[in-house]
């Protein structure tokens, strides 16, 4: 077993700075990194394309697919009737059919599947179907769903204290409401899967998925096979961001169906526009609140209503909306609070996981509420934020968890200093006083993000480490590589255990036949869970080697050490390769699995109480923006970030996550707008109309510093998760935009009516609305 605590003394060798680059960086830049579509195609490969629903909600009266079948290059066409067993690709609720049966519930839903000799042939043929529909009442908007009481699950309530009574007695009360939009993942590599039939019914699938085990299980159920018959493999994804956690299953199952039915390999590479139409996105939210507060801005009571549009099926919406509730406190103590969370079912594509997983929506709500309180009191929003931070005696979350690692006050204090918030705030007031058309705004917002899957059993991981007799090492684990660098981090952990250079380690593709029963690489947990599982696997092998060497060289186990200079066993000095060779001759097993389950977490969902998180990741950002009062155009001018990743496994990788997360969050809150028409058709289904940030949207000045603390919990190297938390640093941009817009009526004691994303159009509407509100007041 482990001869030392993984949480304490890593960092001496390969974990030390300078950071190792991403393990595939040299392949990325030369075009040699192979993604699913780059793998050689067997000559008999079939190419697939879905036929899609043109209606948001309808009964299928008839499907005439004759023209599809007769089209040039078509091999075969499949409908729900061709599915051998379960027609289901849903993660939890069995409500996402692979192919629609009698009814369609969202525009773009898969109706049938065409297999052709080329992708082009399949795409052309798929458009030739004649489908007769009988339209059914459709709930496209949140208002329509609410009116129809259309929900994916009962409305949830999380509460502590007596919000109602405290509101009634509070010195100040305010009500407000606003909306925030969803977000498309826009991973650069679209959804894709290749299925290859094996012998005796087996299927092998290369899928661009964050969740190979789930794809494996769903394909097995769909084909009436056992899990042992299905192998899913993923070497790398070209981006995912949550969009390939559940959404990849549809494409993998389609490929598996055709492979199983035809005995030929089958590939489904989804067109970008089809991908954007057919796959889920971040949940849009509507927020309404009533808040009671005192003269200093202390929140005394909060009644918060969060309503999300979940789309046509359950997917992961319950957990996502729970996470919104969990983050509606952010860094702030809410003594009397009631959070009501409504989960609307609509006839739009089912909303799904996306970096932050509901957290950003909950956090944006409380940050806007604090901006509102500050504006009404005429105080600086930062002062109001500081007044409400968790502190000794004010440290229990609305879900009853005691916060023991609260570093938000220190992070904010340091960032306030280094970003010179106060001086710039003052300079901006002066600038705005003499600039009628261009206004600036600045804001500092913090982040506290809970780490762990809130579905407790998901917090487990496995790894498989092989040491070969030449001293080279293969590492495999349940984590999938989507660009976040989990492979290099885990490889570093293993290299460190054996004291070998990183080049000794080869990371191999994530496969369900190497490590079974894995959880999705999600919830920022990849390195935490898989790093620890790989540490345990490597440590098992190391313990065997120590035992072998101490016997061979007649020394104590303590006299065996592994380091960059080689392996010392008593007086003997060997290379790691020599040790491996001798151990193999000495009949020592050089392969081991490793396992890890996060300790000390438990959650009672019925009561919404417990300790769902192992720890919290923290951060804070200061953003400065400028707004054009004539057009609503705006620009993020400068951003300073101080972020907590504990004792980093790889500072360069972590900084990359922070910057990328921030800019993605900025996109969510500014340029990325999803537009549906009244018939439930997504109009922004391509990069021509859906605008993620470009290089010039990145703030000209962007500084990122890592907080120099370590995790209070014994995580791998005392590091912290980094994937999702930085996304929410971008809330500072939205808050700064509010202040800039508000500056058009500096004396107004209300917040501009700005919704997210703050497109130029929404900003101009907020300016006009703010002026009207002020005139009315």
């Amino acid at each position: 077993m482990a001869d030392r605590d993984p949480s304490c003394d890593l960092g001496a060798r390969v974990l030390a700075k300078p950071s190792h680059p991403h393990e595939s960086a040299h392949l990325h830049v030369t075009g040699q990194a192979r993604y699913t579509d780059d793998l050689a195609e067997p000559a008999d490969m079939l190419h697939l394309c879905f036929g899609q629903s043109s209606e948001a909600h309808a009964r299928i009266v008839s499907m005439d697919l004759e023209a599809v079948r007769q089209a040039p290059g078509v091999h075969s066409v499949y409908t729900a009737a061709d599915i051998p067993a379960a027609n289901d690709v849903a993660p939890v609720a069995h409500d996402d059919p692979l192919l629609a049966e009698d009814e369609v519930v969202s525009h773009g839903q898969a109706l049938f599947l065409v297999a052709g000799t080329s992708r082009d042939a399949a795409r052309r043929a798929a458009r030739l179907a004649k489908i007769e529909y009988e339209p059914l009442d459709a709930a496209i908007t949140s208002a329509q769903a609410r009116a129809a009481n259309s929900l994916i699950e009962p409305t949830q309530r999380m509460a502590r204290g007596d919000a109602g009574a405290t509101l009634a007695s509070a010195p100040h009360r305010a009500k407000g409401a606003f909306e925030m939009g969803g977000q498309d993942h826009f991973y650069l590599e679209g959804q894709i899967a290749v299925a290859t039939p094996g012998e005796d019914g087996a299927v092998h699938i290369v899928s661009s998925t964050q969740h190979p085990s789930e794809v494996q299980h769903l394909v097995a159920h769909m084909l009436g096979l056992s899990s042992a018959d299905v192998t899913v493999e993923v070497r790398r994804m070209g981006g995912a961001f949550g969009g390939k956690e559940t959404q990849a299953a549809l494409f993998a199952a389609a490929a598996a169906l055709v492979a199983a039915r035809t005995g030929r390999p089958a590939k489904l590479r989804c067109d970008r526009d089809d991908d954007m139409v057919m796959t889920g996105k971040r949940h849009p939210f509507e927020v309404a609140y009533e808040v009671g507060y005192d003269e200093e801005g202390h929140l005394l009571a909060l009644s918060l209503f969060l309503s999300s549009t979940c789309g046509a099926s359950v997917d992961l919406s319950p957990a996502i909306n729970d996470r919104a509730m969990f983050h509606a406190d952010n860094c702030y103590y809410l003594p009397n609070v009631e959070i009501v969370s409504e989960r609307l079912k609509t006839n739009t594509v089912s909303a799904t996981a996306f970096r932050g997983f509901g957290g950003p929506q909950g956090m944006l709500a409380i940050e806007r509420i604090l901006d509102d309180v500050a504006t009404r009191l005429g105080r600086d929003p930062l002062e109001v934020r500081l007044a409400n931070l968790y502190a000794a005696g004010r440290s229990e979350t609305p879900y009853g968890m005691e916060i023991k690692d609260n570093i938000a006050p220190e992070i904010i204090a340091r960032l306030r200093e280094t970003a010179r918030y106060d001086a710039r705030n003052k300079a901006i007031h002066a600038f705005n006083a003499q600039s009628p058309v261009l206004k600036r705004g600045i804001a500092l917002t913090p982040v506290k993000f809970g780490i762990s899957f809130t579905t407790t059993h998901l917090n487990q991981a496995g790894a498989l480490v092989h040491v070969y007799a030449d001293g080279s090492i293969q590492v495999n684990h349940g984590g999938t590589e989507m660009g976040q660098g989990v492979y290099v981090k885990v490889a570093q952990v293993v290299a460190d255990v054996f004291g070998v250079p990183l080049g000794t380690i080869r990371c191999t593709a994530t496969r369900t036949d190497k490590v079974p029963n894995t959880s999705a690489t999600a919830a920022s947990s990849g390195a935490d869970l898989n790093g620890m599982a790989a540490f345990n696997a490597a440590s098992t092998i190391k313990a065997r080697l120590v035992d072998f060497l101490s016997r061979t060289y007649a020394c104590t186990p303590e006299d065996v050490t592994f380091g960059p200079e080689g392996v010392q066993a008593g007086a003997a000095r060997l290379t790691f390769g020599e040790v491996a060779r001798r151990a193999q001759i000495g009949r020592v097993s050089l392969s081991s699995t490793g396992f890890y389950a996060t300790p000390d977490i438990a959650y009672d969902r019925a009561a919404h109480k417990g300790r769902p998180f192992y720890y919290f990741s923290y951060g804070a950002a200061v953003s400065e923006v400028a707004v054009d009062m004539l057009t609503g155009e705006h620009k993020v001018l400068a951003v300073d970030i101080l972020h907590d990743v504990g004792a980093s496994l790889n500072p360069a990788i972590d900084k990359g996550q922070i910057e990328g997360g921030f800019v993605q969050g900025q996109g969510w809150l500014t340029t990325e707008e999803l537009v549906w028409d009244a018939q439930g058709r997504l109009l922004t289904h391509s990069p021509a109309t859906y605008k993620i940030p470009t290089a010039s949207d990145r703030p000209k000045r962007l500084t990122i510093e890592l907080w120099d603390g370590q995790n209070v919990e014994p995580t791998i190297n005392r590091s912290k998760a980094v994937g999702e938390p930085p996304f929410m640093l971008a809330i500072s941009v939205f808050s700064a935009l509010n202040r800039a817009v508000g500056a058009c009526v500096p004396e107004a004691r209300c917040l501009p009516p700005l919704d997210a994303p703050a497109t130029p159009e929404k900003v101009l509407a907020a300016i006009s609305g703010h002026r009207k509100e002020d005139a009315a007041a």
């Binding site: 075009g31 660009g483 976040q484 290089a695």
Partner: protein, 475 residues
């Protein structure tokens, strides 16, 4: 031989080509060069960026970054192609690649080959490389990094040696002249002279003219259309002339937006800024001035500005040439004043008289590589403090790019004051009944479009009024 081109010093001759087969598909499926990626297949993400070199003045190769997803194979004829696989030598990445690998420029890595090609182009002096690096890569989307390391790498490796001697010799050997072919019953032609084009247009009046394929490309990749007859006009050199005189700037129809940029910026800085934000470099390297006009889109960025400046359109056919004011060309949505067998030959933009107040503004969700919600262009001639003459044109407000007659009437003869501007802005409501659509609401278009008149007036008073000109305060 239908077409011939160079790839890594090797000549590739194709006897027959699918005229609307993309360069990207050819690379990935025929040559199995899979480094070049498909991210969107519509020229918006840049993952498929390649460099294409053309022989210029027989002793120089001009390289351009292009989106290979919407470049058709016949367009490669007589040119040299460079992909991400071309850069490493003996397995050793070039200095730009090495820098990007070391500094965290890639995360998922899928967009990376496209960025490598755009920045490699910049380092070897490809078209448009004089622009700030953010503009050079505005057509490359990255969803992972936030762009910081990529921008850093670009600063680090901004110049790379490129020896084109062999390419020049080999390109000279390729008969890059007119080409044509047939594919599954569909005809295509790639003429090399305007006369040949005129004859083809007479013979095939329903042929699709393809210049840069930045729009037609999507008819294929997204619309899955088949072009019965395609005429590739992009390499007709005599239609690609830029003539600047004291009176006017003449741009041949085939002038690429990237090549027109400097001359337009010289005409007026607002034109330079508009063309900087005109799609992205890969599109400006492909798309032409004439294509942008002939296409007739109500949201094309070029026409409103050119109309406001009084541009004259030159049309040509076997019957000769005719000239008409650009605004008269746009008859209705999808309908232009183009007679059978006629094609757009060029546009003449008069140089603004001194004292003309000009403002051209594009409003879009995102500054770079976006399509206008509203594009407003104003040219006011002032005499003794009054507006003597006004040309106001808008894109995104109607079914065609159009002048705003009521707005112009509200300006002419009035003093050049803020009040006049406000009245003229209100008059836009008489001129236009814009649509609510995916790019903006009617309200936004009218309100922001009108406010541009206020901005014009403020600018004329010497005020700086663009957020893009601001920098963070030091405090």
């Amino acid at each position: 031989m239908a077409i011939s081109f160079l790839l890594d010093g090797k000549r590739i001759d194709l006897d027959t080509v699918d005229p609307t087969g993309s360069v990207l598909d050819f690379l990935r499926t025929q040559l199995r060069r899979t480094g070049t990626k498909e991210g969107c297949a519509e020229g918006d993400c840049g993952a498929c960026t390649v460099l294409v070199g053309t022989l210029e003045a027989s002793d120089r190769v001009q390289w351009r970054a292009l989106n290979s997803c919407i470049q058709f194979l016949p367009m490669l004829h007589g040119k040299a192609l460079m992909t991400v696989e071309s850069l490493a030598h003996d397995g050793v990445p070039n200095p730009l690649q090495a820098c990007m690998a070391a500094n965290g420029s890639s995360q998922c890595g899928f967009c990376t080959p496209g960025f490598v090609m755009s920045l490699h182009g910049r380092a070897i002096g490809a078209t448009g490389c004089e622009l700030p690096v953010e503009d050079v890569i505005a057509g490359n989307l990255c969803r992972c990094t936030g762009y910081g390391p990529i921008l850093e790498a670009a600063q680090e490796v901004s110049v790379l040696a490129q020896n084109d001697a062999a390419v020049i010799a080999q390109l000279a050997e390729i008969e890059g002249g007119a080409a044509s072919g047939e594919w599954e019953g569909r005809r295509w032609f790639a003429p090399r002279s305007a006369d040949a084009l005129a004859s083809l247009c007479r013979e095939y009046p329903n042929a699709t003219l393809v210049a840069g394929a930045t729009d037609v490309g999507l008819w294929i990749t997204k619309g899955l259309k088949a072009l019965e007859t395609a005429i590739f006009i992009g390499d007709i050199a005599e239609l690609a002339t830029i003539e600047a005189t004291d009176e006017a700037l003449f741009l041949g129809a085939n002038v690429r937006h990237a090549d027109a940029h400097a001359a337009l910026a010289q005409l007026h800085p607002d034109l330079g800024e508009l063309w900087r934000r005109f799609a992205a470099l890969q599109i400006r390297n492909a798309g032409t001035i004439g294509g942008n006009i002939a296409n007739g889109s109500p949201i094309g960025d070029g026409p409103p500005a050119l109309i406001a400046l009084g541009a004259q359109l030159k049309l040509r056919s076997t019957e000769g040439t005719r000239t008409l004011p650009l605004e008269d060309f746009f008859l209705d949505y999808g309908k232009q004043d183009l007679r059978e067998g006629e094609f757009v030959a060029g546009v003449r933009i008069p140089r603004p008289a001194s004292g003309t107040v000009i403002h051209i503004a594009k409003l879009s969700r995102r500054f770079d590589s976006d399509i206008s919600a509203v594009c407003g262009a104003f040219a006011l001639t002032l005499e003794k403090g009054d507006v003597a003459c006004a040309r106001v044109a808008f894109g995104g407000m109607a079914a065609t790019p159009r002048r705003a007659a009521a707005c112009e009437a509200a300006l002419v003869g009035q003093p050049f004051t803020q009040e006049t501007m406000a009245l003229a802005a209100s008059a836009l409501r008489e001129d236009f009944t814009p649509l609510d659509d995916v790019r903006g609401s009617a309200d936004y278009r009218l309100a922001a479009g009108g406010n541009l008149l206020h901005r014009l007036w403020l600018r004329a008073q010497g005020n700086s009024v663009a957020v893009l000109d601001l920098e963070a305060l030091d405090g």
